[in-house]
């Protein structure tokens, strides 16, 4: 079975190294891991917007080839996970494919948003009270698709790169999905 390796790992300083490490873990548990890596495309002659669209189509084609997704849901540039990864979880969920996820931040969402009053953020907007680790649509997709979510509190030095929780989720996926 093929795993779509969704996550902001593509933005790391060494994305190829991150991809290889994740793919090695997938292989160890009997999966093939597919990683969206933008640079395999030929952008020559394309405008900036055309290049973005080419990457979009490439990632969609990669998801269509995969049987499940394991999403890196570690908070990215704000209180929440990467929005591109959230989009991909929705895309896979709509196809009825199992959605798995992990985060290197063990806190629930409400504990990551700066509150001005109980349940209210600094802009006066309500903070979801459901003890999920991000917007409820994400853990909803994991729970209802037969996936697993795991998280752990990882220190800042390898907050974006630690793969212990990723490996635990791949192991859980193998136990659920492989013969």
């Amino acid at each position: 079975m093929k795993i779509y390796l969704a996550g902001p790992d593509v933005f790391l300083p060494a994305p190829l190294q991150a991809a290889a490490a994740k793919q090695a873990i997938c292989s160890a548990y009997g999966f093939e891991g597919l990683f969206p890596f933008d640079n395999e495309l030929d952008f020559s002659g394309l405008s900036s917007f055309e290049a973005a669209m080419a990457i979009y189509k490439s990632n969609i084609a990669l998801m269509d080839r995969c049987d499940l997704v394991v999403a890196n849901m570690t908070p990215f540039r704000g209180a929440s996970m990467d929005v591109g990864t959230a989009f991909e979880m929705g895309y896979m969920a709509a196809q009825g494919k199992p959605v798995f996820g992990y985060s290197n931040d063990g806190r629930i969402y409400a504990d990551r948003v700066t509150a001005s009053a109980p349940g209210i953020d600094e802009q006066g907007q309500s903070i979801e009270p459901f003890e999920t680790h991000d917007n409820l649509m994400l853990e909803g997709a994991i729970e209802t698709s037969g996936g697993v979510f795991k998280c752990d509190s990882v220190g800042l030095e390898d907050y974006y790169t630690a793969l212990t929780t990723f490996e635990a989720v791949v192991k859980a996926a193998a136990e659920r999905l492989l013969p």
Copy 2:
């Protein structure tokens, strides 16, 4: 045709008022607007997590009834849009439904992320260089599904509530999709 009104508007201090205003605009252009409103559900006897799952299933059922989505992509608690809305754009895109979006922030994504060097954020991670208004998967879905994205620079006082750009997108959707 039915529009799924995706966005963090559900977290506004007056979500029912926001819903009514959007639905009135949809009606004026010949659409029916459906708004995910959590409080119509009966949460009695449910745990916090069970309540979240009930809302998830309710939103999924609502999306399945809709023909297109108009997503509020205004930045929410960070550099990017709301992740729940991003998930829903992916869910609708996978069903082959047209994805429309708007933002009350006219800046491209790269201009909203604090850089430590050209193209590099404060954590040393790369910033997408494509001149899209958020992660490329989102405008990719809009462009390839036949949708339209519009944005405008709205002042802070009605950054989260202004509907001028929303209305422009609903108008564009009517021109593209209605007889």
